[in-house]
């Protein structure tokens, strides 16, 4: 399994033909207490860089962008009752949605953990 990161602070785990998407620990830290997550509908097509989900904290509502193009196959139902999971476990239990991988080459432009760590250190 390979994990990639975007400069919009999403992470994406790739396993076979499916990818799991969430927001990074850095993102949840910046957002503060998360109170609501709006997930894309199963079956919806999302485009790389386009709006995919909304995350709302006590501070602000922010868009979460699709790291790659594909079709949404599952949303994390746990977030509906417990959006704070994104704060407590952003990169594990607090995942947002799973999607198909439309075009594997889109992964090439993303960062690996080391590059993302360096990217965040610059901010």
């Amino acid at each position: 399994m390979a994990r990639y990161f975007t400069d919009e602070h999403e992470w994406i785990d790739v396993e076979g033909d499916t990818a799991t998407v969430g927001i990074t620990d850095y993102a949840q830290e910046q957002l503060g207490d998360i109170v609501f997550v709006e997930l894309p509908e199963v079956g919806a097509t999302v485009d790389k860089g386009g709006d995919a989900a909304v995350v709302e904290s006590v501070k602000a509502a922010s868009d979460v962008y699709a790291p790659i193009t594909g079709e949404v196959v599952e949303g994390n139902a746990s977030l509906e009752d417990d959006p704070a999971l994104v704060n407590t476990s952003p990169e594990e239990d607090g995942w947002f949605f799973k999607m198909t991988i439309g075009d594997k080459s889109e992964l090439d432009g993303l960062m690996d953990a080391k590059a993302y760590e360096a990217f965040v250190a610059e901010l």
Binding site: G32, F36, E38, E56, V58, K59, A60
Partner: protein
């Protein structure tokens, strides 16, 4: 604490078994004369009506065809006293500036003088229609023109666009003026620079007007980093949008240097004037090199929050930007007559009176703006006078600094060392224990009888609390607030678990604010 009414009756609410205020439960759910109000659908019935309408003359054929309603509409009917009581009871559960202290930062919730209301209700102002013949509304146009002149004088600017309906609308108007001026030079440019300490609407405005937004960092002291700004200026920068005083409650002392640098690079300076209350009568933005600035009439010049209706955000313009302001505008000619200049007369009027062509970018609104705000704002200005307006700024700043210094030993005040604040004092949640948050503190203040301050804004401070007392409050009122604020802050720092469920004594306890906004129940579903 200087408790009010020392010898008199006190509201006693012994704690009940559930931790809420108590005494035995009542059969009705009412608490003495605080009534638990039913929904209007529960009070009224479809069988009742409170109005007596004449019989319908159905001799004329209906033209509704298949669109004619066949089902019952199902609206509840109520008698007049039922209706009056329902809404009066609901209003008793509300809180407003007429009830007490309202320290909502960035909102300037000042007292709205009753004289304003008297003037605004005069039939010559209240009952005019925007499509009336111009000759029948010259007095109202005169008010718009007089107010425009005052705004120009107070800001040291050259012109003003009166029609924008509120702050963000005014920002858009200003940026569109800048775009029009740059296009007239042949290049609209691409980038608008927005410092971190600016209002959140600024980047949204710039993006909406087709510009790319770039951030300029703040210094440790919470002000614009002048060197970083200078380094980024160039031929692609259309404008810089600055909030001054900024959202940290601080004055930007480098404003003149910022303006000079921006002008040298061929750009324009937009100033967000939402915080004008701190400097009205004391500082003229025109002297600081500002090219465009909106003024929230509904903040600085009373009628906070637009009195529940729309606000008004006129935009004052520099000499360079004035020709590009939107239509319509008012102008008093040498003969003393106030004209309303619209598209059909604009060219000719400009040629005759300004000696040149117009380059207006279009319109911001269908009509002339917010008449109700104009009359109130002009009344406020004229009743205060120049000396009074100066004192407004002085007292607003004094009150905020009094709160800042009275709180800084209890609450984290990130910019307390940056010198005096302007009209608002900013605190953060550093040092709160037991997982307590700014939200919990705010809810605790409700139990103490105060409307909370603005929370979680600005974003640059963790768990921000922005307190703006305005000049309205007396020292006694502020002292009471400070006593309450300190006590709740100390509970938050001590990790007082009970704060998590506050407020206990409000008509409604802690609400799920997220779900109320995200998944609101807007319809009535009859449980039967």
């Amino acid at each position: 604490m200087n408790a009010p009414n020392k010898s008199g009756w006190k509201p006693t609410m012994p704690a009940g078994t559930d931790g809420k205020f108590g005494g035995p439960a009542t059969t009705t759910g009412n608490k003495a004369l605080m009534l638990e109000e039913a929904l209007i659908f529960e009070i009224g019935t479809t069988e009742t009506t409170g109005v007596d309408l004449p019989d319908v003359d159905d001799s004329a054929p209906s033209r509704l065809g298949k669109f004619a309603r066949t089902d019952e509409i199902g609206l509840p009917g109520l008698s007049e006293p039922q209706t009056v009581r329902h809404y009066t009871r609901l209003s008793r559960q509300n809180y407003g500036i007429d009830l007490g202290f309202f320290p909502l930062g960035s909102c300037t919730m000042k007292h709205n003088p009753r004289l304003n209301e008297k003037v605004a209700r005069m039939p010559g102002f209240a009952d005019v229609h925007p499509l009336q013949p111009v000759d029948t509304v010259r007095g109202a146009l005169g008010v718009i023109n007089e107010l425009a002149q005052w705004l120009i004088k107070l800001t040291g600017m050259h012109g003003v666009a009166m029609s924008p309906k509120a702050g963000a609308h005014g920002e858009l108007c200003g940026i569109l003026c800048i775009r029009a001026a740059l296009e007239a030079r042949g290049n609209a440019r691409e980038v608008v620079l927005v410092p971190e300490s600016a209002h959140g609407t600024n980047p949204a405005t710039a993006a909406f007007a087709g510009y790319r937004v770039e951030n300029i960092p703040a210094t440790e002291g919470g002000r614009v980093d002048l060197e970083a700004l200078k380094a980024r200026l160039g031929p692609d920068v259309a404008a810089v949008m600055i909030t001054n005083p900024n959202t940290c409650g601080l004055f930007e002392p480098d404003m003149r240097a910022i303006s000079d640098a921006v002008h040298e690079a061929g750009g324009f300076v937009y100033c967000d004037g939402a915080n004008f209350n701190a400097i009205v009568g004391r500082v003229r933005p025109g002297d600081l090199g500002v090219d465009a600035m909106h003024i929230n009439l509904h903040k600085t010049f009373s009628t906070p929050h637009g009195g529940g209706g729309p606000g008004s955000g006129p935009v004052v313009l520099s000499e360079a930007l004035s020709p590009f302001g939107p239509l319509p505008y008012t102008a008093r000619t040498a003969d003393g007559v106030v004209h309303l200049v619209e598209e059909e007369s604009a060219e000719e009027f400009a040629k005759e009176h300004f000696g040149g062509p117009l380059q207006h970018f279009g319109r911001m609104t269908a009509f002339h703006g917010q008449m109700g705000m104009y009359t109130r704002a002009l009344t406020y200005m004229l009743s205060h006078g120049a000396d009074g307006l100066k004192q407004v700024a002085e007292d607003a700043v004094l009150n905020a600094n009094y709160i800042l210094r009275a709180m800084e030993d209890v609450l984290h005040a990130p910019y307390a060392d940056s010198g005096p604040c302007m009209h608002e004092a900013l605190f953060g949640d550093a040092g709160f224990e037991g997982g307590l948050s700014t939200l919990d503190l705010a809810k605790g203040l409700i139990d103490e009888g105060f409307h909370p301050m603005t929370v979680y804004f600005p974003l640059v401070v963790h768990g921000a609390m922005l307190v703006e007392p305005t000049e309205t409050e007396s020292k006694a009122a502020i002292d009471q607030f400070i006593t309450a604020f300190r006590s709740v802050a100390e509970r938050a720092k001590a990790g007082d678990e009970s704060l998590k469920a506050a407020p206990y004594y409000a008509p409604r306890s802690r609400l799920d604010e997220t779900m109320a906004a995200r998944k609101p129940h807007l319809g009535f579903i009859d449980p039967e």
